[in-house]
Amino acid sequence: MTVTPFTPLESLAGGALIGASAVLLLLTTGRLAGISGIVRRLLPPYAASAPLEAAAFIAALFASPFVWTLATGGPVHQTVTPSLSLAVVAGLLVGAGVFAARGCTSGHGVCGLARLSRRSIVATAVFMATAAATVYAVRHVIGGWPWA
């Protein structure tokens, strides 16, 4: 387990940027900033709606770590799992889950809560609970991912 420092100011400011991003997207395109929905619109079968805006949003997400490093001079700090089996299992669960729930942390957890959507309040409570239970089970019950 990697200990991470408590960063209330950076996290609050970063959250405010995410909120401002969602407001800007709604104002300019009329859509909510739900990442899983934006990814979905870029994959077949295609709906009639403009995938160009979705592609632009994702391209800018890809550019953001480079812009970060240019602007701050520092790297993006992260610790990603070294286990490819864990990454694949988790990616499959996340993909299927957000498709069924029609939203993830951004669409339900930020945009949905901000507009008091009942579906989003339920979804956020459920995914927070199963995520915390999963971390508890892996770290404190079985003592780590068994198939490194």
Partner: protein, 138 residues
């Protein structure tokens, strides 16, 4: 206008995820690990995001239409809660807890090319594609 808005919005979103620490799976998992190395930072991310988005959305929705396009494409806030929503959210949460990645931070991390990130995003996109194609065939 729509494309420029989407570009700026995507950039702000990505920088917000990086500044807040959401892009670090270890930090996300520590937020979820109340019994262990708990790091409450991510509660501040949600507070900051909702604190700006809630009044911002309210102001934007007073307009008849967005700057680009003829109408807002937003699901109704009072749509019914069904089993699909609850099961989907539960499955998503398990994957989120396992890797510490949800879709936004995983995509922002993709250009940094950690092997775990590439594997996660490939599996996630494959799962969304298969689900979408299966649903379309019904």
């Amino acid at each position: 206008m729509g494309v420029i808005g989407a570009l700026l919005s995507g950039l702000l979103f990505g920088l917000g995820l990086i500044l807040s620490g959401m892009v670090d799976p270890a930090k996300v998992q520590n937020f979820l690990d109340i019994a262990g190395t708990w790091d409450p930072s991510l509660a501040f991310v949600m507070a900051g995001a909702i604190g700006v988005a809630a009044p911002g959305f309210w102001l934007v929705r007073r307009r008849a239409a967005p700057l680009s396009g003829s109408q807002f494409r937003v699901p109704p806030a009072d749509a019914p809660i069904d089993r699909r929503l609850v099961i989907g959210a539960a499955v998503f949460g398990i994957g989120w807890g396992l890797a510490g990645f949800c879709p936004g931070p995983a995509l922002v991390s993709l250009p940094l090319a950690a092997p775990g990130t590439i594997a996660f995003v490939s599996a996630m996109v494959a799962a969304i594609s298969v689900c979408a194609l299966l649903q379309a065939r019904k």
